[in-house]
């Protein structure tokens, strides 16, 4: 039967999205795996959320006057789209991590959110087009000082990070990918690429969006040599040369692999540390050139590959705080319609170490096991445990009802297996599973002969299931995607 491998579908949805409810897995289970991948890769074909309703109730969001409001809006949107356009949100999160731009400097929340929208709209498109949009993005221009990059007095910040952190990387296979001269000339090519307005210019009546502006008289028209090419280059020419480089194919492939397949070493080590799976990276590099730098094509190859589907790849990545928060909210079915309280929930990302829209530096967040320390781990466990045991949440109620539907006498193994499946086909280590099963057995024995029939029995059964779900949500394994 097509697509019936639900554990594989759950794996796909954890990586290409924020996890899936059992109802969503039932739906995807009706179509071929490849068709599911294709649907995820085309979020534009799925419905949008109701922006008018969002704006009516979160009346301050249109302008997002402070950093917490912007963070809240980001989390709300990721959750709202988690069931319909999950990859749109996941790819936006990916590029936010790679092209890390932060409100600590930008100080204009709507402009930062516009950058995330850029990633939503173009994050799956052609890498050349994406870089060009990025180069004109007001938040990025301000973040890396390109508004101070003038003819005759170039500021190299953007030119350097474009090469080092956004496209090629410092080096690969032990070699350097570009020279200091390339950095200087890249910067010269982007002189005159600036913004209008700035972060304080409209404070009497609130802020207005920053806009990209090209100032031709401030552009350096002299000849430049970049990566072996010579000409009177403008910024667009630099990007054209960048995307042709093998280093760019490698850099983008490693980033995609690191985010969607398995944790790689931190980016700074890539010059001297080969990929964990060189064959997988080679396949992605080839697709990069074959498709003409198309990100959607690369991801199609990735999600359909054996290295992605393999058993080894499953639960091999530590969830980011955004994945923990949004994945849990989506599972619960919470905040699918505007209501008060999203602000407090969204701050969970910050407390777990990922202050969305405000990364620690232009390098973004350190990922993988570096997400975890004693403080953030406690935040993660408490967040999930608090949310997942609330029977008032529609998603929790539907999971409990699904488990109780048609149940006769509850057995401990059935409860644990059922909860693991409904929570996204979570896989527990045998020892932990035995431990939880024993706990459930003890609870059931205290209500000997429990049958989910009468009111009291049903309440006790619900309580047992909720406890099991809470314990699974508190497990080490739940922290992995």
């Amino acid at each position: 039967m097509p697509g019936t491998d639900k554990p594989l579908l759950a794996h796909l949805l954890r990586r290409a999205g924020f996890g899936a409810t059992f109802q969503e897995l039932d739906r995807y289970g009706q179509i071929e795996y490849e068709a599911t991948v294709d649907e995820l890769l085309h979020p534009e074909q799925q419905p949008t959320i109701e922006e008018d309703v969002l704006e009516r109730y979160y009346i301050d969001w249109k302008e997002s006057r402070n950093i917490e409001g912007a963070l809240t809006e980001s989390v709300y949107r990721m959750n709202a789209y988690a069931g319909t356009r999950p990859l749109q949100e996941k790819i936006a999160l990916f590029w936010h991590q790679v092209f890390a731009t932060g409100l600590a400097k930008v100080l204009h929340e709507k402009t930062m959110l516009n950058q995330i929208d850029l990633f939503r709209q173009h994050g799956l498109s052609n890498f050349r087009d994406l870089l060009l949009h990025l180069a004109k993005d007001p938040a990025m221009i301000f973040w890396l000082d390109n508004n101070f990059n003038h003819k005759g007095t170039p500021n190299e910040n953007w030119g350097r990070e474009l090469l080092e952190l956004f496209s090629m990387g410092v080096g690969m296979d032990g070699q350097e990918n570009y020279s200091e001269e390339d950095v200087r000339n890249a910067a010269r090519a982007f002189t005159g690429w600036t913004i209008d307005d700035d972060n304080v210019a409209s404070i009497p009546f609130g802020k207005t969006p920053w806009l990209f502006r090209y100032v031709p008289e401030d552009h350096d028209e002299d000849e430049k040599t970049f990566m072996g090419h010579t000409g009177n280059f403008n910024g667009e020419d630099i990007i054209d040369i960048i995307v042709q480089q093998r280093a760019t194919a490698r850099f983008l492939s490693r980033h995609l692999y690191n985010f969607f397949v398995a944790d790689e070493p931190q980016v700074a080590a890539w010059q001297h540390t080969p990929p964990g799976d060189p064959e997988a990276i080679k396949i992605l590099e080839e697709e990069y050139f074959r498709s003409g730098y198309d990100i959607r094509s690369m991801l199609s190859v990735l999600f359909n590959s054996d290295f992605f589907k393999s058993d080894q790849a499953r639960f091999a990545k530590v969830k980011s705080p955004a994945e923990v928060v949004v994945g849990t909210l989506h599972l619960l079915g919470d905040f699918k319609f505007p209501k008060r309280g999203i602000f407090e929930v969204a701050l969970g990302c910050r407390y777990m170490g990922q202050d969305l829209l405000n990364p620690p530096s232009v390098e973004g967040w350190h990922t993988g096991e570096e997400w975890i320390d004693s403080g953030s781990l406690v935040e993660r466990v408490n967040f999930v445990a608090d949310q997942i045991s609330n029977i008032q949440q529609p998603g929790v109620r539907s999971m409990v009802e699904k488990l109780l539907k048609g149940a006769g006498v509850l057995d401990p193994v059935g409860v644990i297996d059922g909860c693991l499946e409904l929570l996204g086909h979570v896989r527990l280590h045998d020892k932990n599973k035995d431990h939880l099963t024993a706990q459930v057995r003890t609870m059931l024995e205290q209500r000997s002969g429990l049958v989910a029939g009468g009111h009291e029995d049903r309440r006790a059964a619900e309580k047992t299931i909720l406890h099991a779900m809470k314990m699974i949500g508190s497990s080490r394994e739940y922290q992995f995607a």
Binding site: R56, A201, I203, F343
Partner: protein, 329 residues
Amino acid sequence: MTTELGLPLSLHKQYRYQDVIGLLSAAGPGFSGPVSVITGPDGNLWVANRANPNQPEAVRITRCTKEGDFIEHFGEWGEEPGNFIWVTSIAFSAQGELFLADESTHRITVFDSDNNFIRCFGEHGNGPAEFDRPSGIAFAPDGNLYVVDALNHRVQVLTPNGEFKAQWGSLGDGDGRFNMPWDIAIDSASDVYVTDWRNDRVQKFDSSGKFLMAFGSSGNAEGQFNRPNGISVDSDGDVYVCDWMNDRVQVFDQLGIFKDMLIGHSGMSKWGRTFLDANPEIEGKLELAAQNIEIKERFYRPVSVHVDSECKVFVADCYRHRVQIYQKI
């Protein structure tokens, strides 16, 4: 188009831009997301500020003169009686009590003329005198309070003490049905106008809820709406509608025929002037910002419109934290 004095005119020259009051501020002279503007018994402007969930101190009622002189602000964010969280609208009773709708606590809160809390009524639900996100409120000439009960898609009529008297409406798009209605206005003949938000129209009823007429459809042409919300009726019977997502205010006659359109012509306010005088470096940057000049003058999500006895039109220009004022000519 401007007058001889250089003041801009509305699309069909029936209104003259006069002034602006405002400044983004969480306290004192200024507004933070103004969502409701009315004239009080004292002849001054009373403005409800919605603000941010993470800036609760900015949720307040501001009182100022119509010339833009700050008088006071009051109110406290919270769920306790007398507090409010998601304020949607305010209205004065004939006795001079201030009524405030809060769509977070699903209740109406009443203050006396000295801003002291008197009582509140309503709770979350869909029964009589219960609410699911109350939004617009208005008093009829007979003293009854009309409340738009948005997510119950109905209008409820209550006494000023909150006792249920009548209701009409349910979810739908036929005559007398609503889809998340927002605001309400009552004219001198006691006829009731409701902005039927998600149906992009205005419906008119008699005081008992009998459907009389509707006007508007989805779009951005004259007479069309993109999520209408604030509504008011002047002493001539002309109807003013905030055409929210089209960022404009449209004026209609009693038959719903389009008459004119306001788009916003804001200059610098008195409070803004004071702020810039104290921060000259910001004024310098404002002057350098060349691309955004026009959008800074225009309405940005106007939420509430109010017309006083002198036919001055006050528009709560929500995302610009100001009230723009026009004079009917």
